[in-house]
């Protein structure tokens, strides 16, 4: 009996729903999509009480001269409970309507091209069953923009961090700053000394990337310090490269290091040499150098991929003291297990400061540490806000969370 009653009730409800008439989309607006590279219009309209999976919306567009919406081309059709402002990848400070509004971008599609500077007529139709109700037809023209306001948070944080770094540098010039011990860098002298005692060369690798990668630049900078000490101790230095431009830069750095050490006559142009850009051919060649020349100290600085273990395990088998430094987090376990010392992530960037002890360099580390403290605080505050938002259902925490979102 109960089941029968429920079935009848359900049938009555569905009949009532089917009879709800749809209305034309309200408060529709069409404008050039802000903060974009052009070729796009944004269409927004207010949500309706009948929005649901049964009703659909159609976005129509065409020549600006067309005034009859039915004559326009359908460029998008979707269920009435989808395509909201909140789904778009825009920041809250760039939104001009509530996030519950509908929003669709009109872009070039098959058979319909959107060009900058040309006006287009756009309309929205609400569709349910045989019913089809049109909004008014609006006209707009797309154009490219010179600034992406969605990335304003990123710019502010980048500039703030830059300012912080330079303030830290000026602070470090006036004050003495404590620098924690980095065993991997303390071991640089030990490794070079060992190579000198054994009369064997030092092998230094700058990684898989070219100079567009900051880790390669950091590796090249550390090479300068290592080369200077190798020159002082009159120890042979071998620097095989995977990239010719990096090789040329490292040649200059090594040359200067020998000059600064007062041993320009010991500098060899071919201490830095090119092997190949191919990953495993390079690895095979460097492994061969390790097995034939048996360097007493191996340095692996910069970015690495699958070759990391092939290089370091071969180096370990020759009994060399090995120091690695990389920001390739996926290769860190291999370096940690096979090398005597590993500079983990940011320590690679700190190496230059640590080895030179220059206030300018050390000041940068202070700036980085303050930056990390800020990030840590933001994570802590974000956790609290997200929890408050989830527990109380309040919307305001989301504004702050959005501010921190997508800072890449």
């Amino acid at each position: 009996m109960v089941v029968w009653t429920l079935l009848v009730f359900g049938w009555l409800c569905s009949s009532a729903l089917a009879q709800i008439s749809i209305s034309a989309p309200q408060d529709m607006r069409v404008f050039d999509t802000p903060s974009d590279g052009g070729g796009s219009l944004t269409v927004q309209w207010a949500p309706s009480s009948w929005d649901g999976p049964d009703a659909r919306y159609q976005v129509l567009a065409g020549d600006a001269a067309v005034t009859d919406p039915a004559a326009l081309t359908i460029i998008a059709e979707f269920p009435g409970n989808s395509k909201y402002v909140k789904d778009a990848k825009t920041a809250w400070w760039t939104r001009n309507v509530d996030k519950t509004w509908h929003q669709v971008l009109v872009r070039s599609a098959k058979g319909f091209e959107v060009k900058d500077g040309i006006f287009y007529a756009v309309a929205v139709a609400a569709v349910q069953g045989d019913q089809r109700v049109f909004s008014q037809v609006l006209v707009a023209s797309p154009s490219p923009d010179w600034f992406n306001w969605n990335q304003l948070n990123n710019l502010i944080i980048a500039l703030s961090f830059g300012g912080l770094v330079f303030y830290s540098i000026s602070y470090a010039k006036r004050h003495e700053i404590f620098l924690r011990r980095i065993p991997g860098l303390d071991a640089v002298d030990e490794a070079i000394g060992r190579a000198t005692e054994l009369g064997k060369p030092i092998l230094y690798l700058t990684g898989a990337h070219d100079l567009h990668d900051p880790s390669t630049i950091a590796a090249a900078v550390i090479l300068g310090k290592v080369a200077k000490r190798a020159a002082l101790y009159e120890t042979e230095l071998l620097v095989p490269h995977r990239e010719p431009i990096t090789m040329a830069v490292c040649q200059e750095i090594t040359k200067q290091a020998y000059l600064e050490a007062g041993k320009p006559d010991l500098f060899k142009e071919d201490a830095n040499f090119f092997i190949t850009a191919d990953q495993f051919s390079y690895t095979a060649a460097v492994d061969g150098i390790m097995l034939r020349k048996k360097p007493a100290a191996n340095f692996f600085m910069g970015a690495y991929f699958a070759e990391s273990l092939l290089l370091t395990e071969t180096g370990a088998s020759t009994g060399a003291i090995q120091i690695a430094g990389t920001d390739s987090d996926h290769q860190l376990p291999f370096f940690v297990t096979t090398c005597d010392y590993t500079l983990i992530g940011e320590e690679l960037y700190a190496a230059s400061a640590y080895l030179s002890k220059e206030p300018v360099q050390i000041g940068t580390l202070l700036g980085q540490d303050i930056g990390k403290a800020v990030v840590l605080s933001a994570i802590g505050i974000g956790i609290v806000l997200a929890t408050v938002g989830a527990v109380t259902g309040a919307q305001w925490p989301q504004l702050f969370l959005d501010l921190l979102r997508d800072l890449k």
């Binding site: 923009d145 880790s215 010719p244 040329a248 940011e346 990390k372």
Partner: protein
């Protein structure tokens, strides 16, 4: 002279550094066009730089052959291999196959280069085993923790392990998704800040040792 060797490169670094940093915030097609052009130029410069590399390689091995240093035979093999491949490549217009038939160039690539690369990559499996053997010997507290975590993760990642110890799957996922991910993210935050700080130093000429030369 000092202007050409020091100030001009620093000026170029400053201008291009600021320009391409700003490019990230400018969605205009002109900005995209500038990035595309610069990338193409970099590729062209990189292509020419390869001449530098090949010259270095030939010089290095020519010296070895001339002096008949230890292992000079390998240098001879390199010369034969390289010049032979270039000659065959030019002869076949760089094509690996013509009308379904493999060319000599294709043969060299498919039956020499690819197996050699595969061999190098395959050695990795043995090296992982030997590295794991040395690392997982529980000599210290840290090594013991590493050993236990590694055993749990390995058990949890293979069907047999999860069949033998049903809990290992969940524990393994927890180790990877909670402990491992959080540590990786912490490292990445440090790396990102370090990279940004280094970029600022390079753009504004604070870090200039990559140019060679002293501090003048």
């Amino acid at each position: 002279m000092i202007f050409l060797r020091r100030q001009l490169p620093l000026l170029i670094t400053l201008v291009t550094g600021l320009l391409f940093a700003a490019q990230y915030y400018v969605p205009h097609p002109a900005s995209e066009q500038m990035l595309t052009s610069a990338t193409k130029w970099l590729q062209i410069v990189g292509g020419f730089a390869l001449i530098l590399g090949v010259t270095s390689l030939f010089h290095q091995h020519a010296v070895k052959i001339r002096r008949q240093e230890a292992g000079w035979g390998y240098s001879l093999v390199l010369y034969v291999g390289m010049l032979g491949t270039i000659a065959v490549g030019l002869w076949t217009n760089g094509k690996e196959s013509v009308e379904g038939t493999m060319t000599a160039f294709g043969w060299i690539y498919n039956y020499m280069m690819v197996p050699l690369q595969g061999t190098m990559f395959a050695i990795l499996a043995f090296f992982i085993a030997s590295a794991a053997y040395r690392s997982f010997r529980a000599k210290s507290r840290e090594a013991a923790v590493l050993l236990v975590a590694a055993v749990i993760v390995m058990m949890g990642r293979v069907p047999l392990g999860e069949y033998l110890i049903p809990l290992s799957g969940d524990v393994s996922s927890w180790i990877l998704n909670v402990l491992n991910s959080s540590v990786r993210r912490a490292i990445l935050i440090g790396v990102s800040l370090g990279a940004v700080a280094l970029s600022f130093k390079i753009i504004f000429g604070v870090e200039r040792s990559y140019l060679g030369g002293g501090k003048e």
